[in-house]
Amino acid sequence: MNFEELKDKADQEWNLLNDSPLPVIRVGTAMCGHASGAFRVIEELKSILSEKKIDAIIEEVGCLGLCYAEPLIDIKKQGQSRLFFNNVTTDSINTIVEEYLINNKIDTTSTLGYLGSEGPNFNEPDLNSLPGIALQERIALRNAGHTSPGDILQYIANGGYGGLHKALSSMEPSDVIDEVKNSGLRGRGGAAFPTGVKWSFLVGSSNPTKYILCNCEEGDPGAFNDKGILESDPHTLLEGLLIAGYATGASNGIVFIRHGHNGPINRTEEAIKQAKELGILGKNIFGSGFDFDIEVSLTGESYVAGEETALMEAVEGKRSMPRYRPPFPAAFGVWGKPSNINNVKSLSYTPEIVSKGAEWFSSIGVNKSTGTAIVCLSGDVNKPGLYEVPMGLTLKQVIDDLGGGMKEHQTLKLLQTGGPLGGVLGPDSTDIHIDFDEMRAAGAIFGSGGIIVGSNEVCAVDLTRILVAFCQFESCGKCFPCRLGMEHLLEIVERISNFESQDGDMDLMKSVGGTMEAGSLCGHGQLGFGPIRSAIPHFEKDFRSHIEDGICPTGSCNNPKIVPKNTRPYAQDFVVGVKND
């Protein structure tokens, strides 16, 4: 089947679904929906429907990003707009069925809004007018929440694989790379390296076997956008990988997902299966002579496995510890073959960049940060969620407009951005724009997009301690400065948070941190001092108060401490008699 026939078939099915005489019930079943009970709601819904003998189509879709509203379901009746119900429970689903499906009248306070050209069903607001959504510009997440990730035809009907088709049918590989270069797309994994330039490294190699790897390790606490994309719309990543493969001449793609992220793993594997069945993966794709194959590779639980060379070790089945560079992956990657590693988000933009052109993409965003930022907002805000907004929003907009402001009676104290290795910003930072370079200059990084908002009830020392504990626990144990330095940093921060600090602890931290920054093998060790270094200038008062007065200003250090398992050096097993398991 060629692409046009495929597209026709997909369009037909999609129209059939949208014009279905049966009500179409879409349930958000990505991570946050799952966590808040979406699958229990589906089960309950099915049993109610069968009990009441109502025919309906239930679609498991991805995530609209409104985590605070999960479980979120929407119901579309023939000829009407989609009506969204938020925070549905197994109890309230009965009311919804009863009132909306059967009696067609409903108390609009339980609805979030409508979506569709048919206008409001009752007097509920347009979903797109909600402040959290109005600011959004969804590119990578364009299908999330709207199509079923388990159905490739829905993706195709919504323009999916059009970019790939365009590239294969009318563009040379070098054109594709130029397009990506011109779009100004920068890697969303953390380092913000221009994606097009990275791809071009792989082109020069004459090795017939080359790999494009996609990194979905995503171990940062507070980051869930990669998983979100894979769970909501895995085909956009596959299309991105295919385009990258075509542009660079690679023969294989590997999607590297952390073991345990079952939703993304299952949906990606299912998507690969479907794409293979339709000939979108495999030999001679769309009759162009281009061959490409994608597989999923898993690793054990290791944060460092997200580091590109450690990731390659993990793909090869070894202990995920970083390699030294040079040689760089583009020369010596997985199995010694030239490889190129991209983040899920970076790859997911490329189908739209190819479809709509570099100019369109670069018109979004500010300065050298083009396109959108996929923000994972969490912490002490009213409306945490996954928001895709154009680059250039201020952090104030993020907190107030996307996040719906701070929780009641709380004021902003800190922002933790870019994962634990990123940095901490103080309350005076709200005018900073989401821009790779501006945030870096402010001592934080945008990184993978996680923004954790801390209120005045958060103790900066305790937060630092938790971040340091994370970095210590996740050190792979290879290079000496990181393995030993993190252990000492944690020990000192713990001393401070336990009001047991010793003279010169602050200087000691700085000297250990300096050794780690200059001496470590990979980014984990080089940035491992980051949480402390960026916290001290903003919250020196908090530290001083712990050290000098023995008082925690927020009182949270007086509570029992959360400590990750196995972070202690061996010696302490014996001292406190904790058995190591």
């Binding site: 050190s475 144990g477 290079c479 030993l484 252990e487 050794t515 093998l521 061996y570 010696a571």
Partner: protein, 890 residues
């Protein structure tokens, strides 16, 4: 010669090999950059960050571009014009910062104390260092790389960081090893040596972050983790974390490099001798070309018998049926006068396979000139069939290429050899090459360590290997896959040979060998497609009647495919005696003289000796023994014939069954007391040095023989030292006149030989006298491997030592099982002559008539450890085929 790269390190202009790393370039030019995880010869790792440098490289426009950060010099390749600084203030303080972190978990109380080499472990410390934190209680005190680095860096060690000793219990339950993980700095050298160099992966990094530490996967014993007890991890450990248990605390007073006496690889090992003149450690020499820093359990832990004081200390003479001590003149006079009566063919001498070239040369000279007999042989010459046709087919009976040339091999064809046990270090390049993508064809009914590396593991019917190889040759010729130019132009006799292989009809070959025709064709294709093939064979499992045919077939196959001396290809006949090559070169055999010279009459060799003793043809027997040879098959045979001999002279170091029956016993020197030369399987002449010197009244065998000869009237046996003997023997080694005895380095010296390649038709005859009999109708093939992932082996503590206990799994053919009324999982018993084994039956598709078991290598190590003051070869069970019958206990 590739062009060298010019660069500047600390202002000094140097030249280095392209592709080397900065640290290697510095070391090659005599400059030191501190390092802990780097180890020459292993891949760089970049973990310790001690070797950080500042480097800048020139750009095309003439300016210099700094490399970002402080790159580790072990992972940064050099480039033309590079400028490197190794000791800026910034680097020094970074290094000190890292070292302070490192020291915070390593005992360091003594590290910068001026008394570190003076204190004893029990001295009162004026600096109040607790006993556990003292370097003087560390087994590696005098040879600790961490200490050397700290002292080089002139550290003050006044860091405010807390000291976290790990307080881990010592691991002392495995054989030979002590592991104190509190001393480990997690440099992973041992893990890398085990993985990269030895390709065993027996040890690994466990846990992560601050808890990462060396151990075995799941904490299992080394006995079952795949450890081959080679000690490579011990040799690379920079601290006292992994050490040899024996003489752990002893310090070396003297270090002497010598040749290991256990196998023909000829590993060069540096023997540490303590102040009580005991051999305490054996450390393989990295610069030696034969072993390149490798050794095996025998060379590492099997030399302690040299310290055994339970020796034969003086000559012994049998009086009234009892051996009594005698003086040297008394014993020599007696033997000289007695032997004078047995001149001629009633005298026979068996030289030791551990004898030096000098011993062998004098032994044959004594036998031929003084005793006028050709009845001379050496004790391990039981496999001579595989050598006899070498000189006629390839010009010289020795391997055609070097050991480490195997690294370049693309395809290994290994026939009936247990290389990793018999010639362990030879297995190292093989395993390394295979781990980098080379292929292996193993033809062996037994499961050996190399079987798991094999792409094709072929188990033909017993004693049909020559037919199988003939079939492969036939298939190659049928498909015209041979290297025709080489075979027809460089070798003689090709046409005749080609017409002789028509006997090897594939259907017949397939029927006889039990290997399918497709598989034979596949093998033929694989072998002929490989660009560099090495053939290795020791033919352990093959009956002596067909050994010659088999080795002929292998050499023919090598000639046919043109794999003789090119890089990566070669023919490697594998013998067992450590200086067997030398014995042959010296003519210490009944059928030729020194330098393979022709002799008029062939004497009685080892094979016919027991018969000749029984019939009375041999009346006087002169055995230059060594412990291990009596446990061999031939040793057992001769032992039974000793009573018939009228006069028996034995040279021996320890009492054994031979000395008990001897009329005169001469105390003989051990390897560590000898001065002479060994020739290894590559024809590499190595020095054997007297590391221990004479301990008692023993003497070297050649000196004893010379004294006898002189007493018997000879005047050409006057040598004052072994160098003079070497001078006399060296003309017999082609082109070795230029070898200076004193200057043979630890890399030895290979003497070259002339090649003459000639095909020889293969004898297809089947071995009709099968080794099985009516009483024992089945054949047991025993395998031994390093680890069994699915075994039910359990480790139990016996006397506080780990020990393997398990139910053997006995594999047998389903039809055979049916005939014997055996079901899967039944307990059965295997009974042979002097042999019994119980186990659980497992029915699978092995050939009918064969039963097989596979044990863990660890179980043999337990045995060697148990008898560690004895020659390990005495306790080393060769994996011969054993005729057995199966019984099912009621």
């Amino acid at each position: 010669m590739t062009e060298k790269i010019n660069l500047t390190i600390d202002g000094k202009e140097i030249q280095a090999q392209p592709g080397s790393m900065i640290i290697q370039a510095a070391m090659d030019n005599g400059m030191y950059i501190p390092y802990l995880c780097y180890y020459p010869g292993m891949k760089p790792y970049g973990a310790c960050r001690m070797c950080v440098v500042k480097a800048e490289a020139p750009t095309p426009d003439g300016s210099y571009r700094s490399l970002p950060g402080s790159p580790a010099s072990c992972t940064t390749p050099i480039s033309e014009g590079m400028r490197v600084e190794t000791n800026t203030d910034e680097l020094i303080s970074l290094r000190k910062g890292i070292m302070e972190l490192l020291i915070s978990e390593h005992p360091h109380g003594c590290l910068n104390c001026h008394r570190i080499d003076l204190c004893g472990p029990t001295d009162v410390c004026l600096r109040h260092v607790t006993v556990n934190d003292r370097c003087v209680t560390c087994p590696k005190n005098e040879r600790c790389e961490l200490k050397d680095t700290v002292r080089y860096m002139e550290m003050e060690l006044t860091t405010p960081l807390t000291y976290n000793n790990r307080h881990l219990p010592l691991e002392v339950k495995d054989p030979f090893w002590d592991m104190d993980m509190n001393l480990c700095i997690v440099c992973s050298r041992c893990v890398r040596a085990c993985d990269e160099v030895r390709v065993d992966q027996a040890i690994t990094l466990k846990e992560r972050s601050g808890r990462s530490i060396i151990g075995t996967s799941k904490g299992i014993s080394l006995l079952e983790s795949g450890c081959e007890f080679c000690g490579a991890c011990i040799d690379v450990c920079p601290t006292g974390a992994i050490v040899e248990r024996d003489y752990k605390w002893d310090k070396a007073e003297v270090k002497t490099t010598t040749t290991c006496p256990h196998c023909p690889v000829g590993c060069q090992t540096s023997l540490d001798i303590n102040k009580r003149n005991k051999l305490i450690r054996s450390i393989p020499v990295r610069e030696a070309e034969a072993n390149q820093g490798m050794t095996c359990f025998k060379g590492k832990f099997g030399l302690d018998y040299a310290n055994n004081r339970n020796r034969i200390k003086t000559p012994l003479i049998k009086k009234n049926g009892e051996l009594v001590e005698a003086s040297w003149p008394e014993a020599l006079d007696l033997v000289a006068s007695k032997l004078s009566q047995f001149k001629g063919n009633s005298y026979s001498l068996i030289s030791s396979d551990r004898g030096t070239n000098e011993d062998h040369f004098i032994a044959q000279k004594f036998t031929r000139q003084i005793m006028q007999s050709n009845n001379i042989d050496f004790s391990s010459n039981t496999n001579s069939e595989i050598f006899d046709n070498l000189s006629s087919m390839i010009g010289h009976s020795s391997a055609t290429n070097t050991i480490w040339n195997l690294l370049k091999t693309d395809l290994f064809v290994i026939v009936s050899s247990n290389i990793t046990e018999q010639h362990n270090v030879l297995g190292v390049p093989i395993k390394q090459a295979i781990s980098k993508g080379s292929k292996a064809i193993i033809i062996d009914p037994r499961e050996t360590e190399l079987s798991r590396f094999a792409d094709h593991w072929i188990k033909p019917n017993i004693n049909t290997e020559h037919i199988l190889i003939g079939g492969i040759i036939r298939s190659i010729i049928d498909q015209s896959l041979e290297n025709h130019d080489f075979a027809s132009k460089s070798c003689e006799n090709f046409d005749e040979f080609r017409s002789s292989v028509w006997d090897f009809d594939l259907s017949r070959v397939s029927k006889e060998t039990g290997v399918s025709q497709e598989e034979i064709q596949d093998l033929a294709k694989t072998i002929s497609e490989s660009t560099a093939t090495s053939f290795l064979y020791s033919l352990d499992t093959i009956s002596s009647e067909i050994k010659e045919s088999t080795s002929t077939a292998i050499i023919d196959l090598a000639l046919l495919t043109g794999n003789v001396e090119n890089p990566g290809s070669g023919i490697y006949p594998l013998f067992t005696g450590p200086n067997e090559q030398g014995a042959r070169d010296m003519g210490c055999v009944p059928n030729f003289g020194p330098g393979y010279s022709h002799i008029s009459e062939t004497g009685i060799g080892l094979g016919e000796l027991d018969n000749a003793c029984q019939t009375g043809d041999i009346k006087a027997l002169h055995i230059i023994g060594n412990q291990a040879s009596i446990s061999s098959e031939s040793g057992q045979k001769i032992k039974n014939a000793l009573d018939k001999v009228e006069f028996l002279v034995v040279h021996e170091s320890f009492e054994n069954e031979f000395t008990a029956k001897a009329d005169v016993v001469f105390p003989s020197s051990l390897f560590a007391e000898k001065d002479g030369t060994f020739t290894n399987l590559e024809r590499r002449i190595h020095k054997v040095n007297p590391a221990l010197g004479n301990k008692f009244d023993e003497d070297e065998d050649w000196r004893i023989l010379c004294q006898l000869a002189t007493r018997m009237g000879a005047n050409n046996f006057n040598y004052s030292n072994s160098e003079e003997v070497f001078k006399e023997l060296s003309p017999f080694l082609l082109s070795t006149n230029d070898i200076n005895f004193q200057k043979i380095s630890q890399s030895g010296q290979i003497y070259s030989v002339k090649r003459k390649l000639k095909f020889k038709p293969i004898n297809i005859s089947l071995n009709l006298n099968s080794i099985s009999s009516d009483e024992f109708p089945m054949i047991l093939t025993r395998g031994r491997i390093l680890e069994e992932s699915k075994s039910d082996a359990k480790i139990q503590l016996i006397n506080d030592k780990n020990s393997i206990t398990r139910n053997e799994i006995i594999e047998l053919n389903s039809q055979d099982a049916l005939n014997n009324n055996i079901l899967e999982g039944d307990s059965i018993k295997i009974i042979g002559d002097n042999f019994e084994l119980s186990g659980i039956a497992h029915l699978n598709g092995i050939n009918s008539g064969i039963v097989s078991t596979t044990q863990l290598f660890g179980s043999i190590i337990e045995k060697v450890q148990e008898h560690k003051t004895e020659d390990p070869m005495l306790h080393f069970d060769q994996l011969n085929l054993i005729p057995v019958r199966i019984e099912k206990p009621e």
